[in-house]
């Protein structure tokens, strides 16, 4: 196994993290929708972001053109459904994850960010009312007592980048803690977990960290925390009683990828396997529209081919090689479920020899929740983002 430096250092406290979270934000103004004014999370945020001018806007479209930029924060309530299915990808296996969109957008600035292709509204939007989503998840959990409900807030933004300011994740954790079959996952590239450590009943909450090779993090992940900082945050979360999860996504096949990813995987050995809920893998992929919006980074000009869902991926043979390597390295470090995100049945068969629902340790991850589908007349179809 590749050696790694010990993960040590003084744990930051929640107040220091709040200061750090505030200090790095790009905002120069806040827009607040009238219906969000009285929400506790909105009031908390306004207290914690003093000095920023606060304007009123009934909707995102109500924000003046000149303020539709990454320097604007828009606080509102969610409209329509509050819990969605992961959009999945046509012709690829989806783990049937449920999503809540509380933070829409992110200011970390990763060069490969796929959100650039579908979040065309620049201001970072916060849905500051978690109540309806919590109730919806509780309903789905009640309808599926025999199934594990996996739901996360990291689909459209970083779950914790703004969380020290808004405290929304705490409301989900507390609201779902009594449900044994719910895994609420907060996924982040930051270290902002400390405000959540003292919650007494954490239920099935999972603190998940996107990981990458150190070289990729340094070159491509903007203002995200270093890999070691993220792992130290994961350690603090585990010590406090949370389950951890790790997501290697996107895996980028840069020239020394084996060494780079091997090094990061080696660092996972310090986590007790029974405190890691899952690890996912996904190689870099992009919809064609994203390519023109991305910085011209060398990895973007590797060999990619269009797949059945229209997204571009590495050649199938190469993906198989990457996943096989990663899975083997992880298996040698931690005995936890490792699954593939948005991959084809052919890749699953090549890497695992079988399909996920036929594998015992994948069953909980890939089982579809009953009654979590949209209403029949919603027009939703597989592979399309739906709200519930």
């Amino acid at each position: 196994m590749i050696s790694y430096e010990p993960l040590s250092g003084n744990p930051p406290d929640a107040a220091a993290q709040l200061r750090k979270a505030v200090a790095r934000l790009p905002f120069r103004r806040i827009y607040l929708s009238p219906e969000a004014e009285d929400l506790p999370a909105a009031r908390r945020a306004l207290e914690r972001l003093p000095g920023l001018p606060v304007h009123s806007a009934p909707s995102r479209e109500g924000i003046p053109e000149e303020h539709r930029s990454r320097e604007t924060l828009f606080i509102t309530r969610p409209r329509g459904g509050t819990v969605g299915r992961c959009p999945g990808s046509r012709g690829h296996l989806c783990c049937n994850y449920l999503t809540v969109d509380i933070y829409l957008g992110c200011s970390l600035g990763c060069s490969y960010c796929i959100m650039k292709s579908y979040l065309n509204f620049e201001p970072l939007v916060v849905h500051a009312d978690p109540g309806p989503a919590v109730e919806r998840i509780r309903g789905i959990a009640r309808d599926n007592p025999d199934r594990m409900i996996r739901v996360g807030s990291g689909e459209t933004g970083d779950s914790l980048e703004l969380d020290p300011i808004f405290g929304l994740t705490e409301e989900f954790i507390r609201g779902l803690a009594d449900l044994p079959n719910v895994r609420f996952e907060a996924k982040t590239k930051t270290v902002f977990v400390d405000h959540l450590l003292d919650i007494p009943d954490k239920g099935g909450a999972v603190m998940a960290f996107s990981l990458n090779a150190r070289e990729v993090q340094q070159a491509e992940e903007g203002e995200a925390a270093s890999i070691d900082e993220r792992l130290r945050a994961a350690e603090r979360a585990v010590r406090a009683g949370y389950m951890a999860a790790f997501h290697f996504d996107p895996v980028i096949a840069y020239p020394d990828w084996r060494e780079g990813y091997g090094e990061t995987i080696g660092k996972l050995g310090r986590f007790p396997a029974d405190r890691v809920a899952w690890i996912s893998l996904g190689t870099f992929r992009y919809p064609p529209a994203l390519k023109d919006r991305m910085d011209r980074r060398p990895y973007l000009y590797d060999e990619f081919v269009p797949c059945r869902d229209g997204k571009y991926r590495y050649l199938q043979r190469r993906r198989g090689e990457i996943y096989t390597f990663m899975k083997k390295e992880i298996s040698g470090t931690l005995d936890v479920p490792v699954y593939l995100c948005m991959e084809s049945a052919d890749i699953w068969r090549r890497v695992y020899g079988d399909m996920p629902l036929k594998m015992r340790d994948m069953h909980d991850i890939f089982t579809i929740a009953r009654n979590a589908d949209p209403p029949a007349d919603s027009g939703a179809s597989p592979g399309r983002k739906v709200v519930l």
Binding site: R296, P298, L300, Y301, D302, E303, V305, P306, C307, R308, R313, L315, Q316, R317, R318, S344, D346
Partner: protein
């Protein structure tokens, strides 16, 4: 109204860009004196002397000189009465060539506008030049390096492809110019975009060697694709080789999944009787026994 000789007119500075060749001027109109008065702008200089600019009519003056016409009528304005933007509008009105400016002329006009501080979105200027918004691409071409601008101005490539060429050294483009001339518009676009992507992937260090290799290739488009997609090209080559070895001349056609994504290959053939069918089956049996390497491709 006053008159000046063609020689006097041609000695005046001309702020705008129109061609000086008299070819576009009808000599009969000049001979009969049916020319509009040429606009001049008069402005005082620091030394107290007056400076005259010929706003429009250089080509007419040149034609008049060629025909021996002694003088042409002129109309003078103080600069305050005909400021630079108004002078340009007047010039474009007199030129009266909407939609008939060449890409190079619109680029020159764009450069003049930039120097004068007239925005590219100026609706009146734009309307006098083109009904199809030709000024905007001219401004975009103006911002290109010399070699990409040349390719775009000659309409060998679209403006977007030209703008992508920022990573390609000028020398490389010049070296590849003969190869580019032999390609279709579409192939040229594919070729150049692939070249850019190779340089972005590998860095500019080997760009001259790359240019030499591509310039010497019998089929530069195929050569650039092989360099852009080396693994895929190798897989395609292995597949072709395998198909040739097992199926050449047999009428059996083997196909691989698109981009080798998936595991479904297909085989097709026609037959018109048991004898032909038997032959095909024989070919397939040999492939079944010896063709296992096919599956390594996916």
């Amino acid at each position: 109204m006053m008159s000046l000789s063609p020689d006097e007119l041609l000695r005046l500075p001309r702020p705008f860009f129109f061609p000086e060749s008299p070819e576009g001027v009808d000599p009969e109109l000049v001979r009969r004196g049916l020319c509009p008065p040429l606009p001049l702008v008069v402005s005082p200089t620091q030394g107290g002397r007056e400076r005259r600019l010929l706003v429009w009519g250089g080509a007419l003056a040149a034609a008049a000189r060629g025909l021996g016409t002694p003088a042409l009528q002129v109309r003078e304005w103080e600069e305050a009465d005909l400021p630079p933007r108004e002078a340009l509008l007047l010039c474009l009105r007199l030129e009266n060539r909407r939609d008939r400016y060449s890409p190079r002329e619109t680029e020159t006009l764009a450069a003049v506008m930039e120097e004068m501080g007239i925005p590219e979105s100026d609706p009146q200027v734009g309307d006098l030049v083109s009904s199809r918004g030709a000024l905007r691409p001219a401004f975009r071409r103006l911002r290109l390096g010399p070699a990409p601008r040349e390719l775009a101005s000659e309409e060998m490539i679209d403006i977007r492809t030209a703008e992508n060429l920022g990573e390609v050294p000028e020398e490389v483009l010049r070296r590849l110019r003969p190869a580019l001339e032999g390609m279709s518009f579409s192939d040229r676009r594919i070729f150049l975009n692939s070249l850019v992507e190779i340089l972005l992937r590998d860095g500019p260090g080997n760009s001259e060697r790359l240019a030499a290799e591509l310039a010497a290739a019998a089929d530069p488009v195929a050569a650039v694709r092989e360099l852009r997609f080396p693994q895929l090209s190798l897989m395609e080559e292995r597949f072709r080789d395998l198909s040739r070895r097992f199926f050449s001349g047999s009428g059996v056609v083997l196909k691989h999944p698109p981009h080798f994504e998936g595991r479904r290959f297909s085989i097709s053939f026609d037959f018109d009787g048991p004898q032909v069918l038997g032959k095909k089956i024989g070919v397939l049996e040999r492939f079944l026994r010896e063709g296992g390497e096919l599956y390594d491709l996916v």
